[in-house]
């Protein structure tokens, strides 16, 4: 036998061993006699390079340490757009199989298939942060254990209050929305409009989408400021748009109060410098903890509410 043949034979032998092992496992139908001391909950984060998910991870680990019978494993993909990789990751975990999965979906449609697959295996899936596509959920009949996300409606209401206080509860304000039709955009908008209705002397004179983006918000805000010379304030549904709107106001030498959402590092810095009046922060740590808690409950057969909103926190230059 030549030297070169050795590794090749190795591969074939090991492959045969693998298949042999597989058959042995699949032959007796399922009853595994070995009792499992710990049940594994797998937490699949979108990424680990975003502070939001780093916080979520910390919350999840803290909660898991309170459940000695649970072993928490953390998984992630390279980017939030790694859709295929996330599917492969979750499939590996389902094949293991883990006792429950907490999933922050990279794609709200594709993740539905994973939930359906987990349902077939009776593995509960807790969806965190990003809501599943409702149409697809209905079509595939998928049943997530629960959804844990920020309470965007309340956040919108808090933003309205913050803005109202900043402009002394009277005058004209504008509203910049996220991508039209998106669930988060709708919730934040509706919350804001509900909150602002409590102040009869405040009037929403302009309401336009700027698609979550800083540069689009800049252009939209310039147009709004031109059309409404007496505008006193604006709520932008995320900090990126808020910062874009603040730039537009500064470039047009107009002094208006702007409240954002998400309390990103950029947003926090803009509050420090006075460019923004305030921002509404999500609470990823609590989301992570609640997700693990829910997963444990689901493993123990407890039923969960379909949605569990997590409280948001208002930040402004005054607090």
């Amino acid at each position: 036998m030549k030297y070169h043949n050795i590794p090749f034979c190795w591969a074939i032998m090991a492959g045969a061993l693998w298949l042999g092992a597989c058959q042995r496992e699949s032959a007796p139908p399922a009853p595994t006699p070995t009792p499992k001391p710990q049940r594994e909950v797998a937490f699949v984060l979108k990424t680990i390079n975003n502070p939001f998910f780093v916080e979520m991870r910390a919350g999840a680990l803290a909660e898991a340490s309170r459940h000695p019978d649970i072993k928490l494993s953390i998984h992630a993909t390279a980017t939030e757009s790694a859709v295929v990789e996330q599917v492969q990751l979750v499939e590996s975990l389902l094949g293991k199989p883990v006792a429950a999965v907490c999933l922050t979906p990279n794609d709200s449609t594709v993740a539905v298939g994973l939930v359906a697959k987990a349902n077939a295996q009776r593995i509960p899936v807790v969806i965190v942060d990003t809501r599943l596509n409702a149409q697809e959920v209905a079509r595939q009949g998928a049943k997530p254990a629960t959804f844990i996300g920020s309470d965007n409606v309340t956040g919108g209401e808090m933003a309205a209050k913050l803005l109202a206080q900043a402009i002394k509860q009277r005058g004209e304000v504008a509203l910049l929305e996220g991508v039209a039709g998106q669930e988060t955009a709708i919730s934040r908008r509706d919350g804001f409009l509900r909150g602002i209705r409590k102040f009869p002397d405040i009037k929403v004179v302009a309401q336009q989408p700027a698609n979550w983006e800083r540069d689009q918000a800049y252009n939209v805000m310039r147009a709004i400021l031109t059309a409404h010379p007496r505008l006193l304030g604006a709520f932008a549904s995320n900090d990126e748009m808020a910062i874009g709107a603040a730039r537009a106001a500064a470039d047009m030498k107009r002094d208006i109060e702007i409240v954002g959402f998400d309390y990103t590092p950029d947003g926090a810095a803009a509050i420090q410098t006075g460019d923004l009046t305030g921002s509404i922060a999500q609470d990823p740590k609590s989301m992570g903890a609640l997700a693990v808690k829910s997963a444990v409950a689901a493993i123990n057969g407890q039923s969960l509410p379909p949605e569990q909103p997590v409280a948001v926190v208002a930040h402004s230059s005054t607090n």
Binding site: K2, F8, C9, A11, A14, L17, V87, Q88, D107, T109
Partner: protein, 308 residues
Amino acid sequence: MLRGGQFGAAPALLGLLLAISVATVPAFRTLTNATTVLAQASLGMLIAVGASYVLVAGHIDLSVGSVVALASVAFGVTIQAGLHPAFAVIAALLIASVIGSLSGLLAIGLRVPAFVATLATMGIARGVALLLSGGRSIPIGPHIPISSAWVGDDSIPLAIFVAIGIAFAADFVLMRTRVGVHIRATGSSRQSAARNGIAVSSLSVISFVIGAIFSACTGLFITLRLLSAQPIYGAMYELEAITAAVIGGVSLTGGRGRPIGAAAGALSVAIVRNVLTLLNIEYQIQLIAIGFLLIVGHLFIQRQSEAL
């Protein structure tokens, strides 16, 4: 005759990986897991086999991931327009061939280095994919009945057999047919191949087109599997393809390596990912592990070249 040496580090690595995994990771030994690994590897195999053609011909293709996305979107848009899925497949393969030809013509006709030419087509293909889709994902579920062969977990996905079959067919073409022999000769030494009357220019362009068609097939596999066409698919696949090919003994300097080796390399990467996930090794460490794997793969090829 299959000689281990033609496949780089892949056989030894596969053997070692399988032996260690089977012995020490209980979850690895299940039939479900074997199916999962093979299904995941089938995607990597296709792009790695495609990349091996381009690499063996002595070039490099960085547009792999973008073409995956473009083919996916082309398929999705055509289906959404109400046309028969067969037309959608043709549209995907056609548009990928156009990108492959463009890469080839830039690299050969205009003598733009392949690295630069395919960096350009990488941007172009991704841009067209985003443009065609409007930056959104296109659900194809309503247009194609959910097939358990693709998404189900009880059955063994068809994709595995298709990918393995394609890998062997591609290997046969490259190793046994005239076109294949000429592509290898072109990659080994362009000058001497040209002196011997081989149409080196056309063969180089053809290798780019073949690579692009494999990328398109990968895009179609993903789209059918996830029932969603997306312009963001395939990010970093070019590196994945090159990693798998190098581990499988495909030389970056052209002329050396086999598509089956590249496929085995892809399988190795898939197994490493799977085992590390089963062992709850976090993502950061997985990246480092794959990095080391690439180095081992390359050193293997290097040592063999020096031994020749």
